[in-house]
């Protein structure tokens, strides 16, 4: 067995390797282009250039991009969680014809790769006049088969006794949903929210196709734009990267547990 110090050494080494790209990005965002190009490279900013951040924010439009991402991601997250709760509730608590078939239909959406939908979706969005708009960015993603699956599983855990008691107390479905089922399924809702947020925030292909200027561009495409227009000013690009990454880092730190739950919902139970 490896001694304790050896284990810590190995862990620390690997941690440094994993963190290094982010670290160097942070450092470089505070250096001047000359410092960045210098060899040997600088690993710690002695004279931090905070102006890179304001440059990225204003001239680089990262501020606007951040806002767009925030709006679109929120719409998508709320939409996905909302539709998932409604659908999951129906599948868990109600009986209706074609229930099993419809559930399979929901699940089948997971098998459809996004690429096969883009041609038609683009023209649909265009026809609706939603090109380069928040609606165009968000509406196609307002529902998810995975979300319905997750919520159904969570709702199925609500004990039969509670349903009976609520029934005797005269609770209708809407009340039961909002007062009992959803609160009890809170971990699943949280997990789904974090998962949806992550997915929406990191979207690349669709925002690329459906936006054309900084008015509606999201932060991911914004990064591409920032890099292209600042090829010689890498520090500004890196400041943009940090700006784009910070919200997610905060999300990760706050909601690590929920994120794990969402990610592993399909995996561990097999």
């Amino acid at each position: 067995m490896l001694g304790r110090t050896l284990r810590y050494l190995l862990l620390t080494l690997l941690a440094l390797v994993v963190l290094f790209p982010l670290y160097i990005t942070l450092v470089n965002s505070l250096l001047t282009p000359e410092q960045i190009a210098a060899k040997p490279p600088t690993f710690f900013p002695t004279h931090p250039q905070w102006s890179t951040y304001s440059d990225a924010w204003d001239v680089g439009h990262m501020g606007r991009y951040l806002l767009n991402s925030a709006i679109v991601t929120t719409i998508i997250t709320v939409g996905q969680v909302g539709t998932a709760i409604l659908a999951g509730y129906a599948f868990a608590f109600l009986e209706f014809p074609l229930k099993r078939t419809l559930f399979l239909v929901f699940l089948s959406t997971l098998m459809v790769p996004f690429e096969i939908t883009i041609v038609t979706n683009l023209s649909t969005i265009n026809n609706l006049g939603w090109y380069n708009s928040y609606q165009g960015l968000a509406v196609p993603f307002l529902a998810t088969g995975f979300g319905a699956f997750l919520m159904r599983q969570a709702f199925l855990q609500v004990p039969r006794d509670l349903q009976d008691a609520a029934s005797l107390d005269g609770y209708g479905h809407w009340r039961f949903m909002s007062r009992v089922a959803v609160p009890l399924a809170r971990p699943a809702v949280a997990a789904l929210s974090v998962f949806a947020f992550l997915g929406a925030w990191n979207q690349y292909l669709w925002p690329l196709l459906v936006t054309k200027d900084e008015k509606y561009r999201t932060v991911q495409i914004g990064l591409k734009q920032l890099r292209a227009s600042n090829l010689d000013q890498v520090n500004i690009t890196f400041a943009g990267v940090i700006i784009a990454a910070v919200p997610l880092v905060i999300l990760l730190l706050l909601f690590q547990k929920q994120l794990v739950r969402g990610l592993t919902a399909g995996a561990v139970k097999g």
Binding site: L94, T117, G170, V234, V268
Partner: protein, 325 residues
């Protein structure tokens, strides 16, 4: 349709005619009367799944089926001219073209580069971080951290790191010529490295969860039974981890086939089309060449290959998975 639910049991019973509706609450799974109560329940159910179905219908199923149909129509080289029907000819032409075959090879090669490596690395980190050491939580957070990175973030970071002028590789002594992302032989590898780093967080979390699901007692029993750490890993840990690994392989392959962002930002399919993965090929055909028909065919190919691959994986691999229960 209204569910008052306010009257309480007694109050509702008093109103016999309305009793069924007023107290209609969480249903009994027995009671198959198709009276008004059941119809209300059915109506409510359809109402609840309607929003999702609507979105799916418009943005998933309709495009999916229309895509096949689009493949039958050849897009004219000049805008303004009508499409004309060519049946399966376009499918045949595109799918036998060298470009497609190359793209397919590139995509498969990319998947082979990233999926196994990613899983092994994620597993390694998960095993190391699963020990009972003081402060191991910090390491776990660090190893998960790349989940906060998107493909755009990772691409931009590494794009600069790989840059021969301002990047760090020359300082480390790695100085290929041409530089990595412009190098036909190395470009795909470079993108693969970026992708592996970016997905490390997810893989780590996945493998960690799988590891933690294995009851500690089994490892202890193996210890008392005389098994050393290596034997414990092969005979106990790995078999019980196989469902998780299987999941990671299937989902990982699907995502590997959909790689796009990194290529779009860094190599644009080049150099010499060596990073022209299928998704990028599709988007380029759509946006630059404005060739709907061809793009549709390529998309069908992507779907077909992913589907078949998943099927094969389920057939072949799932047999070797040991489900604990």
């Amino acid at each position: 349709m209204s569910f008052t639910g306010d009257s309480g049991t007694l109050g509702a019973l008093a109103d016999v005619g309305e009793a069924d509706q007023a107290t209609e609450a969480v249903p009994r799974r027995r009671g198959k009367r198709f009276g008004r109560r059941r119809r209300r329940e059915i109506g409510l159910a359809y109402l609840l799944i309607l929003p999702s179905l609507l979105i799916f219908g418009v943005f998933v199923f309709y495009p999916f089926f229309r895509n096949f149909y689009l493949g039958f129509y050849k897009t004219p080289p000049f805008p303004g001219l009508p499409r004309h029907y060519v049946g399966f000819d376009q499918y045949r032409d595109v799918l036998t073209s060298q470009d497609f075959v190359d793209s397919l090879k590139t995509t498969v090669g990319f998947a082979l580069l990233t999926v196994p490596t990613g899983i092994i690395l994620g597993l390694l980190l998960a095993v190391l971080a699963n020990q009972k050491l003081r402060g191991v939580g910090i390491y776990r957070t660090i190893f998960s951290s790349t989940i906060a990175t998107s493909v755009a973030v990772a691409a931009v970071i590494f794009g600069t790191l790989f840059n021969p002028v301002v990047g760090l590789l020359p300082w480390l002594g790695i100085n290929p010529s041409p530089p990595i992302l412009d190098n036909p032989d190395l470009a795909l590898l470079g993108v693969a490295v970026i992708t592996i780093w970016q997905t490390l967080g997810i893989t780590f979390i996945l493998m960690s969860s799988g590891l933690q699901a294995i009851p500690e007692e089994l490892h202890e029993a193996a210890q008392v039974d005389g098994a050393g750490p290596v034997r414990r890993f092969w005979r106990v840990t790995l078999p019980l981890l196989s469902p998780t690994i299987f999941f990671a392989v299937v989902v990982g392959s699907i995502f590997a086939f959909q790689t796009f962002g990194q290529i779009d930002i860094l190599t644009q399919g080049g150099p010499l089309k060596r990073t022209n993965v299928l998704t990028y090929f599709i988007v380029k055909t759509l946006q630059q060449d404005n060739n709907d028909g061809k793009a549709a065919v390529l998309a069908v190919a992507l779907f077909g290959i992913t589907f078949v691959l998943t099927l094969i994986q389920m057939r072949v691999l799932e047999r070797r998975v040991h489900y604990g229960r």
